[in-house]
Chain length 225, copies 2
DNA sequence: GGGGAGCTTAAAAATTGCTTAAAATAATGA
DNA sequence: TCATTATTTTAAGCAATTTTTAAGCTCCCC
């Protein structure tokens, strides 16, 4: 597994590189955004770790360019704490997850593993914990008992589970599930999250949809941080 | 049940299509290998009938490509030469059975039924709860009393029961039972569901066809979740 | 305690499915 | 061949469900 770290502070970059190489990752480092973008586009990485505050080209811009080039590589970004707005922008720009500085190395490792695991799942039916959904037959099972969902409820759950362990921003949800591409102050998402939670709870799936305040929602695979 | 015939001789192709449609199959024809392969990969058939000697792409090659794409659809091939070598090659390429030209139509029909039966590992007659249908004689029984159905009614019920405990979407039903492959705002399905429900209810089968709103219908085996 | 984001509920609006009747098409028999 | 019958399709009104809107409430974080 090959990673690229785009980070201007040599101390942090070196610390990450050493720690990740101990975990048998192949690690490259770029010390500014422009170099990082070039490397990301030329080489084939399994994951990018991008600091938000870097010289030459901001992290958010690197992220956008990578996506614009059609590259689906998972992106994790590092942000200084207390900047919710940054998080929203970052996820909207196409990042998959974020982690606030300062962070535990263990947490970073766990999030990296989640992104890499998601990469090689191409089974026909999708699952999260006890929950299984089949996009072909439009069926949802909690263990062995079936849950009846309306089409929109199903589409929302499918999107969340396809992106499980990744943060789904409100704007991405409204784009992918409702196909609305302009800003709007609708609260359909809230309503449908309520619908889903009620049905899933009643079926014994617990509350697997977590709210990330100011950003969106995430469905996590139990047993992984 | 939807079949694809890949056969270049219009006489044979037409003869097969007519005969099979009388048996309530939805039949498509391709007159060369390349077209046939495209159709087989794009659409969802329940069985393919492929002549070995066809232009543009040989039958054996079509067969290989279909399997290479991971499609497990049953394949029956027609061969003129009864050289053992051809047969071996054909079966190695992923075909399920073969029949030598000239053949009796009845024999072809029997072999088709074998392949379709294998699909669900049932014996010759299909059932759901108290209901039994026989695709060979086109009879339907609710317990011991027979229900008279029109051809389309029978085809619809057969499709639903062959796929019992699975959701049959409207688009799949319209493709497999009516052989319509483009978007249309017809409401034939609704009408026929009403017809079927009325006859089944009158015969004492209850309402075994459940609606999945926004998606389609499902026939469930009672007592199994 | 105040502001904002999300949650919940109820009701309006939109969509989808059901039913019926009648028209179009196909099959049957004199 | 033509008339009769059966089957299939279309269309429209009605019923039920789904989706959206809107408003008040709750909870979290300052």
């Amino acid at each position: 597994m090959r990673l690229l770290i785009i980070e201007d502070e040599p101390g942090i970059a070196g610390f990450l590189k050493d720690g990740l190489e101990e975990e048998y990752f192949a690690v490259d480092i770029a010390y500014d955004g422009k170099t990082g973008l070039d490397m990301a586009l030329i080489n084939e990485y399994d994951l990018l770790i991008i600091d938000w505050m870097i010289p030459a080209l901001s992290g958010i811009e690197v992220c956008r360019q990578v996506r614009k080039a059609g590259n689906p590589v998972p992106i994790l970004f590092l942000t200084a704490k207390d900047t919710l707005e940054d998080v929203v922008f970052g996820l909207d720009a196409g990042a998959n997850d974020y982690i606030k500085k300062p962070f535990e190395f263990e947490e970073l490792l766990a999030r990296i593993r989640v992104q890499l695991r998601n990469k090689n799942q191409n089974d026909d039916s999708l699952s999260a914990g006890i929950l299984t959904i089949n996009p072909v037959t439009h069926q949802v099972f909690c263990g062995s008992n079936e849950i009846t969902l309306t089409p929109k409820e199903f589409a929302l759950l499918e999107y969340l589970i396809r992106n499980k362990d990744r943060v789904c921003t409100r704007s991405r949800i409204i784009e992918h599930v409702w196909d609305i591409h302009f800003d709007s102050d609708t609260s359909v998402i809230d309503v449908y999250i309520t619908f889903l939670r009620r049905k899933l709870e009643a079926a014994g799936a617990g509350n697997i949809i977590q709210t990330i305040r100011g950003v969106g929602y995430i469905v996590r695979e139990p047993g992984v941080s």
